[in-house]
């Protein structure tokens, strides 16, 4: 057990190191540089050169990389060329917004998917089950940003019930924060929920065919209680896996939703930083993302072991 964890951690670290080098190399070949962007039109070559020196962009790439990595190991992500502020605290701030968004979106998705997927599976031979499956299929097919735009038109612009966008930190005003989170979480969660519904349905269908559930049914348990007592835990194994994978791919969805709802999250920070060629910031964001996703994978692996009795024994 301990050995396995050490091994996984080593893999994690190697992955992070590899990712950091790849990101650094990719960004080094990008056309355009931050000194030029900061100085804007009409900047003379001498001024650009002077600013490049100030930013330390004239040093060899390897030196720049080692400097950056050395800082990161001490928890120092450097100072942004563009904002002239330390990157670490900004990252944390933006990460908070994105985590709330993704978390709330996931919650919406689960609330939709678990009951609907179960119903669709239990009634898969009846029209109501087919209807749920059909709705889920349609939900998967709608682009998240279109869903978001329509939600804004209806609930913010026409009805005026909820804000059209913007972010209020929960510590500042919890009510406003919640109101602002509803629409973004819904547009992210509806589509994700539709995706998840299909997986829950498949998982429950598989479980229903298992012998222990047939036995439970034969003993006289009604379909839903039988599932609750014996099935859901087993159905949760593949669903948790998918959830983990989805979490990894949710970022693009989150960027788009952050754009529609003007949320100051990690996604919009990434897009802005790339546009400004704020390389240190981009590196920091990507590093955090990669570590985050790898960590999620790690957690999913652990959950997998906990949920699946067969795997636990081995």
């Amino acid at each position: 057990m301990t050995l396995a964890i050490v091994r996984r951690t080593a893999i994690l670290l190697a992955g992070v190191l590899a990712a950091s080098i790849v990101v650094f190399a990719f960004l080094a070949v990008l056309p355009g540089d931050s000194a030029q962007v900061a100085l804007g039109v009409n900047a003379t070559p001498e001024l650009v050169e002077r600013t490049r020196q100030e930013f330390g962009l004239d040093r060899p790439l390897v030196a720049q990389y080692l400097d950056w990595m050395g800082g990161v190991l001490h928890g120092d992500f450097g100072v942004s060329y563009v904002t002239r502020e330390p990157i670490g605290p900004q990252l944390l701030d933006r990460l908070g917004v994105t985590l709330w968004l993704v978390g709330a979106g996931m919650l919406v998705a689960l609330v939709i998917a678990v009951p609907l997927g179960t119903v669709a599976a239990v009634r898969h031979r009846k029209p109501s089950g087919a209807l749920v499956s059909g709705l889920a299929q349609l939900g998967v097919a709608v682009p998240a940003f279109l869903a978001g735009m329509i939600l804004v038109q209806v609930f913010a612009v026409r009805l005026g019930w909820l804000p059209s966008g913007g972010w209020t930190p929960p510590a500042h005003d919890p009510v406003e924060w919640l109101r602002g989170l509803i629409l973004p979480a819904a547009s992210l969660g509806l589509v994700q929920g539709a995706v998840l519904t299909r997986y829950v349905r498949t998982a429950v269908l598989d479980v229903q065919r298992e012998d222990y559930l047939r036995t439970a049914r034969a003993k006289g348990l009604r379909p839903y209680p039988a599932l609750l007592r014996h099935g859901l835990r087993n159905a949760a194994v593949p669903v948790v896996t998918v959830l983990g994978l989805q979490l990894a791919t949710l970022l693009v969805g989150a960027v788009v939703v952050e754009r529609v709802f003007v949320l100051p999250g990690l996604g919009s920070m990434l897009v802005d930083a790339v546009a400004a060629r704020d390389l240190l910031t981009v590196q920091g964001i990507v590093l955090v993302l990669v570590v985050g996703v790898l960590l999620v994978n790690f957690v999913v692996d652990v959950l997998y072991t906990l949920l699946d009795p067969r795997l636990r024994r081995s």
């Binding site: 990008l30 349609l138 994978n297």
Partner: protein
């Protein structure tokens, strides 16, 4: 019964997209790129059945040519992902050991690397285009194929006929070609169909952020992006490409489900 419905409905929707795309090579009602300010934002008429956009271009013609872009998007992205991911998955599954470990860990890394960043970076180097968006989506999709292919390969490798072939001294390549590939092709096909749907959605999202298809090439994603500011004034312009995207994605997903029901070996075993 329901299985055939999925397959048929999916095939019909996908067939429709392909048909429209093919017809658009030979004929469209109007030149989809011709701008005419005097016609801008006109509602549906007999001549312009879906109306015109804010440049006075015919929406129906754009939609037809846009179907080409959608298919192009899917074919390139899925092509890259399948051609790279499937062999990797087979190798990982057949060889096992450190190679398997290495491939799957790199896989995890690619999965963790935001496809969006790749799209932005490729766009910055080569100029944002359908192709850069597709390469990014394709690369990001490689891990899905590798996983599916590996899982399928592992299953095939434990079957008796493969064990027999190995006992008979057949080479790995022979086994891969004779047993593994034919047996997992169904799974790969299913994955292709599903990935196709995801690629279409991803192109729309990238176009929305300005990293997708470059103008003036009509693309459903860009049509949606260009009309989003008119959603309150002229909802038709956003809803038409939105519906087209949704139907295409629905088609590919249904096709994937239908194919899965036919090919998934797990289900066959149980039946």
């Amino acid at each position: 019964m329901a299985r055939t419905v999925n397959l048929v409905a999916g095939a019909v929707l996908v067939g429709l997209v392909v048909l429209v795309a093919l017809v658009s090579f030979a004929w469209t009602p109007h030149d989809p790129l011709l701008v005419d300010a005097s016609l801008r934002l006109s509602g549906p008429t007999a001549e312009y059945v879906l109306g015109t956009d804010r440049f006075g271009r015919d929406v129906a013609s754009q939609l037809m040519v846009g179907a080409r872009t959608t298919l192009y998007v899917g074919v390139v992205a899925v092509g890259i992902a399948a051609l790279a991911g499937t062999p990797l998955g087979i190798v990982a599954g057949m060889r096992g050991g450190w190679l398997d470990e290495l491939i799957m860990r790199v896989n995890d890394l690619v999965l963790a690397f935001p496809a969006l960043l790749l799209a932005i970076m490729l766009g910055a180097v080569y100029g944002a285009s359908t192709l850069t968006a597709m390469v990014a989506i394709g690369v990001a999709t490689v891990p899905s194929f590798a996983r599916v292919a590996r899982a399928g390969t592992l299953q095939v490798m434990s079957t008796e006929y493969v064990l027999a072939a190995r006992a008979g001294g057949r080479s790995r390549a022979w086994i891969a070609g004779r047993h593994v590939l034919p047996n997992i092709s169904g799974l790969v096909l299913v994955q292709s169909s599903v990935s196709f749907a995801i690629a279409v959605l991803a192109e729309a999202a990238l176009s929305f952020l300005g990293f997708g298809t470059a103008p003036p090439t009509p693309s459903w994603g860009r049509m949606l992006q260009e009309s989003q500011e008119l959603l309150a004034v002229e909802p038709r312009l956003a809803l038409i490409p939105g519906a087209a995207i949704a139907l295409a994605v629905l088609g590919f997903n249904l096709l994937g489900d239908g194919l899965r029901d036919r090919f998934d070996p797990r289900l066959e075993v149980r039946r």
